[in-house]
Symmetry: C2
Subunit: 371 residues, 2 copies
Amino acid sequence: MNIHEFLIPPAESARRKGPHDRIVMSSRVRLARNIRDAAFPGWAKKPERVRILDQIRPAVETLPEMRGAFSESMDNLSTLDKQILVERHLISREHAAKSAGSGLVLNRDESLCFMINEEDHLRMQALRPGLQLKQAWMAIDQADSVLEKRLEYAFSQDVGYLTACPTNLGTGIRVSAMLHLPGLVLAEQINPIIQSVNKLGLAVRGLYGEGTEALGNVFQVSNQMTLGEAESAIVERLDKVLSQIIEHEENARGTLLEKKPKMVYNHIGRAYGILANAHSISSKETMNLLSLMRLGMDLGLFPGSDRSLTDELFILTQPAHLQRQYSEKLSAEERDLLRADMVREHLKAVSRPISKPSGSEGGKLDKPEKQ
Amino acid sequence: MNIHEFLIPPAESARRKGPHDRIVMSSRVRLARNIRDAAFPGWAKKPERVRILDQIRPAVETLPEMRGAFSESMDNLSTLDKQILVERHLISREHAAKSAGSGLVLNRDESLCFMINEEDHLRMQALRPGLQLKQAWMAIDQADSVLEKRLEYAFSQDVGYLTACPTNLGTGIRVSAMLHLPGLVLAEQINPIIQSVNKLGLAVRGLYGEGTEALGNVFQVSNQMTLGEAESAIVERLDKVLSQIIEHEENARGTLLEKKPKMVYNHIGRAYGILANAHSISSKETMNLLSLMRLGMDLGLFPGSDRSLTDELFILTQPAHLQRQYSEKLSAEERDLLRADMVREHLKAVSRPISKPSGSEGGKLDKPEKQ
């Protein structure tokens, strides 16, 4: 099966709704599992990895929730296909580098995704739009319970599930959410927030996980510890912290609109102006400007438009998604031109952002404002 | 008389036409003259400066071409008034710093301007839109000939007219033009051009003369030498060099449109996008972006608009012109907000720039272009 035909079209994907999706773009819970008495993928020779893949794949495919799934060995996916899966946040960059002996099983609505022979024999993840950590946890827990009967997991009574890296030992759980936090960034409150979250034992990372930049004001928050705490407690703890971050972000947006409305309009207006008129634009600049437009959508500055437009462009403008539309191999410069054409085309229907009517949030234009 | 009521409204000023005004914004010829046996202004005590002012001012006021002129002692002009005259390029920054004992006589259509007790006792200048050096020279030569009969100029048979600074000795002439050269800047050809022009004994300066930056891609070209060459020869030499620069600029624009149309559209589109949507913008950024929009007007990318719009904004958005519209003293931050409001308001009537139709200059959008 062709992965291009399988994946949900970006426009549809961007319209998915979830609780607090103004701020929480998606929730994810993943579990790391390994097969007893088999070498971890980083150590195993190819025949052993193939054997593990052949053992795990049918077990996953026959889960009831995986009916109609996309299931493939990584050597049957092109580099471009793999990059598209990374851009959709369905597989890790590390898994995209794998070939024969590694595999992927993805269900119909992209809410369950199994990476076989990534860092561990099995990494299973449940994904949900908005803040739905508990729902994601329940979905993956259920799949795991069934698989545990079919596969012999490497498990120790003392420490729990064994994993290739000790940071995953125990529960093997990683609970995370992708947060859009332009308000905290504009208000210059993001660094203290990150520090507080770190002190609670949670990690804050960029858009593509560990070691990546927070492009487009998108931050990934996840648990660090996998040992000594029950899965449900980890989920609950993260849920509480996320609720607080959401509140801080909403407050930051409110305060900015009240105290520095023109600063906000300036950032959003310029972002729109550039996106709607550029003829060459990098992926990075696009994401940063789309983030500001998304904030403008949330604040009601683009009447008649909503953030499904920016969220669709967030996906469509990434390098592999752009490349996929052209038969010739594109250089980065060529992609920048085509990206700008695509963004201008999408924004033709969007009018210049409005300022809030006077009296509402102090957005009056005829009186200078002390900043 | 109030200088605000006297000055030509910016909208009208921006609509003035002249030869090659696509590229040559204005032409200017100024002569430096001093009164015999009187100390130069930098050395003279106030009573002597007042005496000189009282001697020169009526002689200038009674020239036929100065009928209805604005004539004032510099101490009767506010700091804001003086700054506005600087922004209109009617007086120098140095003259704006003068007070009692210095004066200004400006004729009705702003084509003749006399600074009394600037660096020299008398600096007279003729101004014209577009490339009109000879016309400007003839106008100022005629005024000078009449004044020479009324005033006793400091003149030496050996070296010519005596001036406060030796760089003006001899003819006391400074012939200059303000050139808008965005094509040469975008094509990265401006530095070799400046070097060649320098080698021909001409100076290239920024928007406000000596020691200032070339904001908005505007460059001032003028003669360096005032000694040993007849005025008409200097005018003619500058005229020839300017014709060559105009040709280089036109060629640069043509080549850019042919070879890198999307780079050109990108710069112009972004400039328009920011100007039409910013809520805070500095004077410097405004000038640089207006310059690109002016280029877009010249290239026909804004059908229905012409460069009188950008040229009016060039004047209106400068600090003193902005301040003048408000009774309260504005901070730089407040000016940036009001400047953005004004620019957005003016650009409401201007649609997004078009790209040239395919086939005309290679501006086709559906095929990637190697840059």
